[in-house]
Symmetry: C3
Subunit: 385 residues, 3 copies
């Protein structure tokens, strides 16, 4: 195929206020991303993931996880088409026998040309890997660069020692940017008005509230995670949807007891954190990982601070019996449907100029600006041969 | 996706004689188009149509039909994905509860932000609607503009009081322009030589005739419909297809009695009218409505002037028992097959420079010129976020 | 659709050393290509093929084969959609009855316009045809040009009187260029290490050998076929694949007896010749015929010099019982899999700048240069309306 830019250069030039975000159809490089759950990678197992358009192979060797590019350096074929690991710490291409070390990427043998001068000199790309809370993170950045601490790309408290994490992954047919934007959206609760979760937890959920423009916090220092926080300081909540004075739909209302303020926030590169969701003491961490221009992998995880093993066991049981069916399948899946629907619109780059955001959507704009200001490198097609 | 022009600008510039027609891959705006049959829109029903690339929702309220754009003004999702009409004259977006009035497009409520300043100020696009002869027409033009009379976009006599109309719709996998061009094509009867219609009506159909260049009428005034008429003034007809003096195929020949002159004509924006087809006293009105670059919806309708209710009932019965199976499925479907086949060629814009029209095809060129001279606005991608 | 260049002009400009080869995504014109096997074209039969993007219809008339473009000169429809041959030496378009002579392309009748001045003047494109060794070749070049002898586009000895040829065709989901490049690849035998063919013929196959850079012959005269020959003059062969001194895979080794030097060569426009494959006395001739940018039709043929009818019968029997299952399905199909896998990489034009060829791949570069130096015309999209 002929090569096409990700975004029409003429359009890109016209977007002045958050141009890097507009350009980042494939996400931002030089960040840590969730690749898979730890339990998907047993000892010796090989897993293939596509992140920001790049094919990445992961393998666990003696407990540690290593990641390399799924593309032979010679003729470009995918190693994953026929995985051949003749020794524990190497992988050989099925075509010419180019053999690489998982840990360093070094080319250590070529079966078809054993005396090739390329041996010991060439490398396949490798990715730094970090594992925490049952998730495997890979750092997509410049070869050989020292990555920032993983904590810089995780929401605060996620890595706390006593934070226990459970979750699921879902493939979503939308660009990754619709993930954080849907999470920061303050006025979309009408979508969730019939979720079974609310009845289960006996929690109230208004359909609307008065505007809260400007009431947000920006965490934007030189070190540590960068994000934007909404503390839901609404003055007034509305539980009735009205047209011409007639109530046509109602929010769920169990009274003030459960009308607690749940903090919501979003963190670079792309993780939503909602405290008190799905219920008191539990926190949602939702990670939006770009796969390609029109798809992201969504890791929906819940964390709870557990004092001991009994508390942890109870939370894990609760996750499988309540939060998986009620919060993921019964609530967050509605957001996924909305993201996939919005994608039909936003896949056309011109939509980003025509969208009809209203004053209440100010958080989205702030998030776009934060990403644009603090991003390190926009992923480009040059990476995606 | 990156945005691409509908037609390569360099090619467009090279087409000097009928450039607007060449550019109108998605049709001409500022015209009335058939959206659906009246019987498809019962009271309260909602119907979705795509015309010239635009999603349009129609709803009948207290007998009248209203049309709005199928795209929420806020985040661009399609209202049609989950139609929510809480009151008779409004529709609410399933995502944030943006609520619009069908008649005016006014934003009259936002369930998620009941105090938004956008309420009462913003509008969703609306389309003027007109209903006649069992068809629902929408006007695709500038917001708020006063449309011309419907009669200007219908062939003469279609709207006559005593004209009774029946018909069907077919989706056709070709650009809309191949519709009128196939209808004006004087020399394609070989395609129809085995149609069962001709035996049923005992009508003669030659395979060819002598050239009739220049023998056409142009109706091109400031007011009223604009079209081109061919009165079939052939001097000589040929019923035998010959190769090297050998007859290899024959037209249908029942003698001179049924070799009547049926007038054929085509009217802007895109309606073919054939008098005397499929039989004496009946007129074909075939409407070609652009859906997207490669598809049009074809409304195949027949009209007959009926003096009274008995005559009307007889014609409607005749339509269902003769013209639907014989004229639509047995004859006009052959033209649809030819249009879909030509599409493989004409979908490449360069084909419009290389096509091998012969002298007998002069009507097509005149039609292209008429459209180019009289068109109001070429539909562009700017409309199709 | 809007027209797009086959290769991004900016990229094309950057490729200086073998630019025409890089541009020839659809192959080279002014050459002979295999269209089909003779036995596919019985007397009167019509066969459709796509070669370098062009639809081509072939028909056998009184023993001789004729070829025309599968596109009516009038409105561009494909004649093949409804083949109508009313007389032995003509074909009529099903739409308007444009009738062409197979031998000359002359328009000899138009059923819909019997007196058209186009009759006797216009032509449909024709292609010179040559038949040899059970294969039908067509020459894709300028209309009316005298083609070079077929022998110029066949490997040496293919057309020898006593050469008996058998074979199969396979559709392969890769660009045609990956065919010759895979054939010239000296170091890919690891891919074949478990082929059942080697056990059957009791032939040795090393996995690798020492580099043989520069040891090739270029046949590049003004007349006759042009190609590049590799005589496999390796000094040392390796039967063990080793990683860190440990043998992890082995080649097939029956001792020196069968470690014969089989000559390998590649000939313009795109035919691989391997002497002594699959066994002594047999020669592989593999033809890579471009279908479109991402597909080629591969004619896998084997030739053997047979002294008499008994020898020929024995070879044909051997082909069906040994070489078809063992050499095609059991060995060459592995190369097809590798070509289709490489296509994922090379379909991106930028891959041709990033590929990691090593010194041992010098033959590929020489082949690209030969093609670039000696090619006549790069096939362009202008041909493919």
């Amino acid at each position: 195929m002929a090569t096409q830019p990700l975004v029409d250069p003429e359009l890109l030039q016209r977007k002045t206020s958050w141009q890097p975000y507009f350009a980042a159809k494939l996400g931002f490089r030089d960040h840590w991303y969730v690749a898979c759950f730890s339990h998907e990678l047993g000892e010796g197992a090989v897993v293939l993931r596509q992140i920001m358009g790049e094919g990445i192979l992961l393998r666990r060797i003696d407990g540690a996880v290593y990641a390399i590019r799924d593309r032979c350096i010679h003729r470009g074929v995918r190693l994953s088409e026929k995985v051949e690991c003749h020794t524990a710490d190497t992988i050989s291409c099925w075509y010419h026998g180019f053999t690489f070390r998982w840990a360093t990427g070094d080319l250590c043998a070529v079966f078809g040309a054993p005396e090739s001068t390329a041996i010991g000199k060439k490398k396949i790309e490798t990715y730094p890997v970090s594992e925490a809370k049952g998730l495997v993170f890979v750092y997509i950045g410049e070869q050989g660069a020292t990555p920032p601490p993983l904590a810089h790309d995780c929401p605060p408290n996620f890595l706390d020692d006593d934070n226990v994490v459970e979750g699921e992954a879902r493939m979503v047919a939308s660009n990754w940017r619709l993930g954080p934007e849907g999470g920061l959206d303050e006025i979309h609760r009408y979508l969730h008005r019939e979720s079974p979760l609310l009845l289960n937890i006996q929690g109230s959920m208004p359909l609307g509230h008065t505007a809260m423009r400007g009431q947000f916090e920006l965490i934007d220092g030189e070190d540590g995670p960068r994000g934007i926080i909404d503390r839901f300081k609404a003055e007034k909540m509305f539980f009735d949807a009205e047209i011409d004075g007639v109530t046509v739909a109602k929010g769920v209302n169990f009274g003030a007891a459960k009308r607690r303020a749940v903090y919501s926030s979003c963190w670079m590169p792309a993780c939503l954190k909602v405290e008190g969701f799905p219920d008191d003491g539990v926190t949602l961490f939702e990670w939006y990982v770009p796969v390609d221009e029109t798809t992201h992998r969504c890791f929906i995880t819940f964390g709870k601070h557990c004092a001991d093993a009994a508390g942890e066991a109870a939370f894990r049981r609760e996750y499988h019996t309540r939060w998986l069916p009620l919060a993921i399948d019964g609530f967050l899946s509605q957001d996924i449907m909305a993201r996939e629907s919005s994608q039909h619109y936003y896949q056309n780059d011109r939509a980003w100029f025509e969208e009809g955001l209203i004053g209440e959507d100010f958080m989205l704009i702030e998030w776009r600006k934060l990403c644009s200001r603090r991003q390190r490198t926009v992923q480009s097609l040059d990476r995606l041969l």
